[in-house]
Symmetry: D2
């Protein structure tokens, strides 16, 4: 995995924000790449499916899908085939984001399909116990995000540090190889520092960057913070 | 609508077939465009989301998404935003394919969102009564496909002509402006002729073309058949 | 259908309210029966599945399930078999309540299964167009309920009379035999009167009765109002 | 938990089989109780929701629901409220059966809701890794059932002993207090013996009993086998 990303990782979820759609998505990707080059921080981005190809063509930072379906090639109209995501140039994928939750057996199958398609799996979880459950399925990364904090600007690393440290304890006990991210409400550099000090190896962010007045400034602050923990 | 497509319409669903993924998807799109130019038949294609951009860049025939979610821009990680599909260059979308069925209220909302995003809506239905229900929601097109015939090579237009003609009767009674397609099991030109003679204005096809030994030959036969009904 | 219910119909949805669970559900059913006998109004009730048997044993008013699955007997652990609901003594069922929405094809199948199991189908819809779509599937009744008004105390019959009258127009045009109810926010007798004057044949109520300080008083007012429209 | 059940446990899932609906469900429950008294084996049953009340009134063996929703009392029309299941007299519930799979976060919430409602949680899983994931959520029991064997008569304990023993190893490593059942294809007493010898503490059975020509005979054989392992 280290050949594709390094930790600490800042993973920016573009969601379906208009600020991160189409040409704006490419522009934001270039901003992320610029900061990555300036700071040497590892910054990944997760744009919408339809924008992956243009972004992969425009930047060299790691690109993730926002979801894959646990399917193989075949009759699955409207679904997300892992192989297609990989062929387009993405190197990983979110799975089970709180806005796109999956059935347990499908998470297990999606992780397996990601592995077979050479995609890194970043599986989201809503609390420490669920993070532990996910870790038992051997994904590459777990991202713990209390859904009640997503989009609030109240950082999980400060408002619920016990969720983050509890996740680190439980996950590492089950599988020390699983990389742990945390997310929800992260809007300042010190939130990133707090997250890393709690034992995570990166953050999953979205509105804090995408909807910032100056995404460059915020993401630069995040990137510089990854060396301060 | 006539500015974007003409009837009879042949709409080719690429599903998540490996034969219609990535570079192979672009190649198949070019084959469809070639036949469209040679025969003047209107041929649309519905590739996977990640392939839309490359295909729109490579051909001039109508491109459809395979599904959209009934959402506006915002926090919908992993979902399909109609505006994004439109910005990528697709001119329409399937909705409620039997492999990606939606809740009734979501079909209604997706049709509305498609209209607002300048996308043609092609809503799939599994029988005549459901087609009538869909017509009450004022989509651009209804595509009736008995799911038990999909992928079988047993053409709906021959095996269940009463489903097709029943759909035509019920739908036109509710809204005569709704264009009616039929699909499932269509593999020969005469299946297309039969479909049009039953009162439809086109066909929705998938494996019959995509998985054919010679897609060019099959699709050419379909295209030429649209003038024989 | 007239052998089982009469219109105007007041249908009380017990939801999963603690005030309408277990022994309290039986008590509330007896209150409804008492008012029904006193006023000769037709009052139906839709309790939780586990409470149907005790309620059917205790009262003689029409009992509905809150949902059925579109299944036949077989391997469907955890699902609601229409035949079982019927054998327990319910005479009908809600389908597609806004809190338990179904896929379109499943609504169609559930209506068919209800009919075959001798259950009246009351299909909920969120607006006039969706009500029309439902009517095309030939249920016994449609209940239009704008979800944004459910539980608010703002009555649909006053706040959105055009939704109610629009539903009546569209549904009767598609199938004049379908009985139309409306619901959401109904808390006073005059809301019932307004609903009936808009052309409906009854109301679907829940919190307005179940969570009232004095359910007897409110439901009596509703029942008496059915003769005033 | 030992106050409610003992191990080895034979848990009979009635599904929505017509042979286990309504009066037939009560009769089958009495058969199970008779065998339980004769053999002193612990036999639990999981009937349909609408039948729980009648069965609890007729027999003294442990009764389980087939599913609960992760909800508290409120506006959840058509859902299964844990408190209602408990008040009806069930002492536990299946969760995440392969025919009623849940999202991961909902399994976690359902286990918590079961605990608060004084219901034993028996969470189903489709393989060893998913069983381990479930164990991290601290249910009372995990039941591993490879879905491809359910209803086949090919016993998991013989056809896939490594799935059963692998589940035992992984689950006990995560939480030794979680009771492990296995199921799928169990039709003979020796399948039960094999399951127990692989380290499980009981079996989850369905068609093997319910659809047997002589359920008494089969279930008696199962019960007697629990003392032979």
């Amino acid at each position: 995995m280290l050949t594709k990303i390094r930790t600490p990782l800042i993973l920016v979820n573009f969601k379906t924000y208009s600020e991160a759609t189409g040409r704006k998505a490419v522009k934001l990707a270039k901003t992320a790449e610029k900061i990555s080059l300036e700071t040497e921080a590892c910054i990944g981005i997760a744009p919408q499916y339809v924008d992956i190809a243009a972004i992969v063509g425009a930047v060299s930072i790691p690109v993730f899908a926002q979801h894959i379906d646990p399917i193989a090639p075949g009759s699955f109209t409207g679904h997300i085939l892992p192989e297609s995501v990989r062929e387009t140039g993405a190197i990983g994928t979110l799975i089970n984001h709180s806005e796109r939750r999956l059935k347990l057996a499908d998470i297990d199958a999606a992780i397996t399909r990601a592995r077979k398609s050479d995609l890194l799996s970043v599986v989201c979880a809503n609390n420490a116990a669920v993070s532990a459950a996910v870790a038992a399925l051997k994904p590459n990364m777990v991202a713990v995000e209390p859904p009640e904090l997503i989009g609030t600007g109240i950082p999980v690393s400060k408002a619920k540090p016990e969720v983050v440290s509890g996740t680190v304890d439980l996950v590492k006990n089950i599988d020390p190889d699983v990389v742990i991210l945390c997310g929800a409400g992260i809007t300042e550099g010190e939130d990133v520092v707090a997250a890393l000090r709690l034992g995570t190896e990166g953050v999953l962010v979205a509105s804090g960057v995408v909807k910032a007045k100056d995404p460059y400034k915020v993401l630069l602050e995040f990137a510089e913070s990854t060396t301060k923990a």
